[in-house]
Subunit: 185 residues, 2 copies
């Protein structure tokens, strides 16, 4: 089946056309976002990923809760219409299973000449696939995607433990603090 | 002129209906988001705010750059269509001038049962109007708006200097770090 047969969240040619040559030395020989490993492929989220374990991978990151197929499709379609959500996944093609995911969200601004900023959200790799640079691959995809889209900055929030991981792909702490309040029980 | 005559970014009745009774003790007597001060009014951003100094207020916060009326309207309309942007302003009705602004941005998620999170962005008060609890009023408006919209959390990024300000309205640091990379020259 060609790409035409799939309901992608965003145009897969955007990912296919990204140039990662400047990142070559930061990956193991032969590895890049275009060649993430044997039988693995980086692509936009698809509607069919509901049946390929997408929510199960997210559940390794945080609370997902009950999400029916109808709820998933409603959110998928809302994100697709919005055009600000770039959910990227890694599929193990042999298992037909989503084994990693990461989201780039674009925020429109009036500041910075009506600019756009990007955020890295919900990066996760199935724990049986750790140690293969897949988290790094997903993060580099989002960085290059945000540059391609013309954002003036990209940011993220992470635990102390993840600081070195994000530092190695160019993120810095700049003295800005993250603060939150939650209402969910 | 009634509300019908204005092109609001979002329905002003949403703000008008918010209940701030639980915040009463945190404002000076008589002050609340519904009564922010003599001649002042909290409302959604309007298309006409391009001529009321909205961008000038933002310029007290960060780089705005050149924004033509056409660029402003294109971004205003894109945000209005998107329905995820709640830019609130305070107008000095006597001067017909925007003297404060703050934005709530909603992000749709698959996690948390296809939940939504909210972010506080670009909070600023004209420096000649400081010391009137207007920044606090804008922040409380965004907090109550995010609860009204059903978000499971609200977050923000701020400097060390602003930590006490946001702590007093319920924000906490939770050990999460903020990281960024910028491309703008």
């Amino acid at each position: 089946m060609g790409n035409m047969d799939y309901n992608f969240l965003f145009d897969p040619s955007i990912l296919a056309d990204l140039d990662y040559s400047s990142w070559k030395s930061s990956f193991r020989p032969g590895v890049s976002p275009h060649t993430p490993g044997h039988g693995l492929k980086v692509r936009p989220l698809c509607a069919t990923d509901y049946d390929k374990g997408f929510l199960g991978v997210l559940a390794q990151l945080t609370k997902v809760g009950t999400v029916t197929r109808e709820q998933f499709m409603a959110r998928f379609n809302a994100m697709k219409d919005d055009k600000s959500y770039y959910v990227c996944v890694i599929e193990d093609l042999n298992k037909r299973e989503v084994i990693g995911a990461a989201t780039l969200v674009i925020e429109q601004k009036f500041i910075h000449s009506c600019g756009m900023r990007a955020r890295v959200e919900d990066v996760v790799v199935n724990d049986t696939y750790r140690g293969k640079q897949l988290g790094k691959i997903l993060t580099v995809v989002l960085i290059m995607l945000s540059k391609h889209l013309g954002c003036y900055k990209i940011s993220l929030e992470c635990s102390d433990q993840k600081l070195p991981f994000y530092q190695q792909v160019g993120f810095k702490q700049d003295g800005t603090n993250y603060m939150v309040q939650r209402w969910e029980t």
